[in-house]
Symmetry: C2
Subunit: 283 residues, 2 copies
Amino acid sequence: MNFDHYTGRVNQHLSQYLSNQGSLTEVMRYSVLSGGKRFRPILTYAVAHTFGTDMNTVDASACAVELIHAYSLIHDDLPAMDNDDIRHNQPACHKQFGEAQAILAGDGLQALAFEVLATDEHLSAKVRIALLQALTHAAFDMAEGQSIDLSVVSKSVDISILKNMHKKKTGSLLSCAVKLGALISECNSEDQQILENFSQDIGLAYQIQDDVLDVLTPEDVLGKKQNSDAEKDKPTYPALLGLEASKIEYKSLYISAMNGLDLLSVDATHLKKLTLQLQDRAF
Amino acid sequence: MNFDHYTGRVNQHLSQYLSNQGSLTEVMRYSVLSGGKRFRPILTYAVAHTFGTDMNTVDASACAVELIHAYSLIHDDLPAMDNDDIRHNQPACHKQFGEAQAILAGDGLQALAFEVLATDEHLSAKVRIALLQALTHAAFDMAEGQSIDLSVVSKSVDISILKNMHKKKTGSLLSCAVKLGALISECNSEDQQILENFSQDIGLAYQIQDDVLDVLTPEDVLGKKQNSDAEKDKPTYPALLGLEASKIEYKSLYISAMNGLDLLSVDATHLKKLTLQLQDRAF
């Protein structure tokens, strides 16, 4: 089983949402539709599928979470931030359109993400509000996480600071992608808690794995510069724990994530397969 | 009558919302609580007051619209955008904290604005969704307006292009401030339309007046650099129409705005006084 149908589905809806957005359309389309693994929307779809939820009710959330992710990449790549020139094997947004339009495209994408959720007619106002509460909070945490990330450059930090930073910078939006799927499915509070634990495990695992892949993966596969964190003197898991211990750490988190899924009130095969695929990803 | 009690009210709530927001707290407080006329929240409060609406139901909207405005000022001042070093008579956010933290504080404020609305327990989910639809749309238009603004620097444009740009860049959020007050008050569709026309008149009047004040007002009163638009070779109303014709234009828009208010199903004295005070502002 693979999850390409979710990718196709979210891409189609993203393209529709970005088809007629005035003067920012071209810049936003360039950054959003040029690639990306769509891991966050896939998570949202997969969780909703696990509960037998109508996929038409999931599209807006899947798009919204990806739009937030896309805006964060545009802003993170800016010279004042991580100063990365390549993203998805093409010039970063600010290299293609200039810094001003890149900042504004990011700003516009954030607003659009929330508008997409607020205007989705498939869901009740009550569910939409729950989704918006989750996504606005995650988006805020993500910005704060990036702020912490920049503040620790060239500094000696311990693993708890690194973990807190990653929890906000990467984990918050990944957890939210899972939570959106749970909220749309209106699943019971036990299942919500199990999914919350699952999402925190895979959120941290994903980031540690990213740090490992950043060291091991060639640039053309990664779609961005290899070893860029170390060159920027950013603290990473491999730098703090060593490469092998980091691999063990993220693999054990994926195992914990999968074991937790056994407690769900519904069959978790679909989510387990996704978790295995994540663990085996090469970039 | 003055409207200082609204300013005090929104400042108090903004300070509460910004009291415990992690590592971005200091940067956000610096920019949001350092001054500003609070014109947008005052509009929201004044419209709601006109319909006898409980002010406790208005605070979140008043804060949200100001948080969006505050984020836009932080991003607009960036070197890649308008490159302004002074805001509210103090160093602009990026001069005080660096560009990266300024970008992230702006990003965080945008997310927080929507979170404040989504989590406001004073309003039903249905009303909150209506407010979020209005504010997300306005925030998107605002970003697009700034994008158009930057694209017309040093270009010869006609008045219709200038008007469209201002309608999005400044008008959309001002109109939204009025609309939020109307939506919270759940006023009838005729009144909503009258307020829509009113908000469009004052939105454009306010911007033309800003262009005029930018030429006429000393820096210490303006709280930012005088004549900065002309120095940046941005098209302005005084540059296109002349100073006197621009004054006549904005004053006639304020008159039109006030006349329209007579059609409301409720007494409009409060909103008229606010409009007169706006017209007489010195900065």
